[in-house]
């Protein structure tokens, strides 16, 4: 993908399988939003091949559009509409695209319940709190029971409670609907929690692709072992955590207490990868 003379995406190649939850990570300007907008069919690419649900997004028709869900970050649109009114109306657009396997749209009352807005069903959207609005955004994104759902930085600006509620909502959704989800985020704990698979994008290229565990393992086999013997705390970094721990028990036996083996988490790996890439 080229803007003017600058290539912002170059040589990106990945597949997402049905039912996968994939997180796209990367520093600002890495091309996450550009990637997702190309896949959504909101942006034309300058070169390359893209297929989403078997169709090139640039030529996706309304039937194709009906199989996608896009969670947009609302601001103040539809402020005079009531929650139920808007979801009911938007659901109407999907009715004719339902199939026997996937009846569309979602029942409005059930959907409102799923996102936890039952008490606000008759409120004007302009009067909702920030967190309630984002849950409404999710409801709008999934009202047509999408086979593929796009979430672009869904929890930006959330407080920890709203974030956790949102994560629970995504879990409920992926458990119940087996929907395929592609999300971008800056929050590595969020990616670790939600995603089956993580793609790390830097400088317009994919620099890592795999499950959060796999990436963490591949990047650094180093782990940190912490333990206490006779009230004294020890910390030891090692490449062979299992062997080291076995030796530890062989030497001290029952005296080993408060044992912790901490693998590099996604955040450590991410920082290492991005730093390495930038050098």
């Amino acid at each position: 993908m080229r803007y003017g003379t600058k290539d912002v995406l170059n040589g990106i190649d990945f597949d997402i399988r049905t039912g996968e939850v994939v997180a796209l990570l990367g520093p600002n300007g890495a091309g996450k939003t550009t990637t997702i907008e190309i896949l959504e069919g909101f942006r034309a690419r300058s070169a390359g091949e893209v297929s989403v649900l078997g169709t090139d997004p640039e030529h996706g028709d309304e039937r194709w559009r009906a199989r996608l869900g896009v969670v947009l970050q609302s601001w103040r649109d539809h402020a005079k509409w009531r929650v139920r009114e808007l979801l009911q109306h938007l659901g109407g657009y999907y009715a004719r695209y339902g199939t026997p396997e996937i009846p569309r749209p979602w029942d409005t009352a059930e959907l409102i319940d799923l996102v936890g807005l039952t008490a606000q069903a008759n409120s004007r959207i302009g009067n909702l709190s920030g967190g309630q609005r984002r849950r409404l955004d999710v409801a709008i994104g999934i009202v047509g029971r999408p086979e593929l759902l796009f979430l672009d930085e869904p929890t930006a600006g959330f407080d920890p409670k709203a974030r956790r509620e949102f994560h629970e909502l995504v879990h409920r959704l992926t458990d119940r609907e087996q929907a395929t989800v592609l999300l971008t985020t800056h929050d590595l704990a969020e990616a670790e929690k939600l995603a089956d698979r993580v793609l790390i994008l830097a400088g317009g290229q994919i620099i890592a692709d795999g499950s959060p565990d796999e990436i963490a393992l591949r990047m650094s086999a180093q782990a940190e072992v912490r333990w206490t013997v006779d009230g004294q705390r020890f910390v030891h970094p090692t490449d062979e955590a299992t062997a080291f721990t076995r030796k530890l028990f062989a030497q001290y036996g029952e005296a080993v207490e408060d044992l912790e083996v901490r693998r590099a988490n996604l955040e450590d790996t991410y920082m290492a990868l991005v730093t390495e890439y930038e050098q």
Binding site: E40, E85, H89, Y93, R96
Partner: protein
Amino acid sequence: MNRLHVARLGIARGGIELRHALTYWPDLVQALFLTVAQLVVLFLMRGHQVPGTTFSLGSLTLPSVIGMSFAFGGLLGVVGLISVDREDGTLLRAKATPDGMAAYVIGRITHIASTTLVGLVLTLLLGLLAFPGVHLTAPGAATLAWVAMLGLLATIPIGITLGSLLPNPRFIPMVLLPFGALTAISGVFYPITHLPGWMQGIGQLFPMYWLGLGMRAALLPPHLAAVEIDGSWRLPLVFLALALWAVLGLTAAPPVLRRMARRESGSRVAERRERAMLRAT
């Protein structure tokens, strides 16, 4: 039938917007305030007479104001709505929904056309009751109906085109200022025949003059045509001028609208939001 399905969704959307316009009191107060203020001014003008006649100036102006309200609603109103809908992401939502863009456009047309017609009926009823000389005959009603319909066609598509071209709502004054100037030379508050010839020429290029003229023809007694250009209501020309603007608008609007819609994306809306936020703080 796909088209029928889209039309139904669009009309439903416009109906909901109309209901909001009629039940959301801040908007309603604003709309009524303007209409009532206009009518009060006209009512106070009713003692003054059209130069050279005994006819009330207020009664002469009332139909012109109705004509002007079409240009305001269909043009300025649409420009404002489209521009705001782009900024706040309403349009992007429509784009993310199957058949959403087509239904959005139909919805906005339904909404604007119906609110304009509600305004027309209210002003007309008050005019018939409170303004001597304003009357509605059967042929007058027929004229009123086609001028109104053609007036909507002549203004809404142009409004959609301009609204799609404006980068953001802060550019609305760029449309508003020439619009005000145009009102002054369109014979709304002052008979156009009293203006210099070149102003008359410019005024007659735009639909506002022809909307006012058509409404005067529909609602005023025939002898008042004497104060118009050529001493006539010139209805064939009213038809021709409004039809030309309708054709122009209907030709320009779809490609401009498509081009604008194609370029909408989440990052564009986010960009506008950030700029608007900066301005607000």
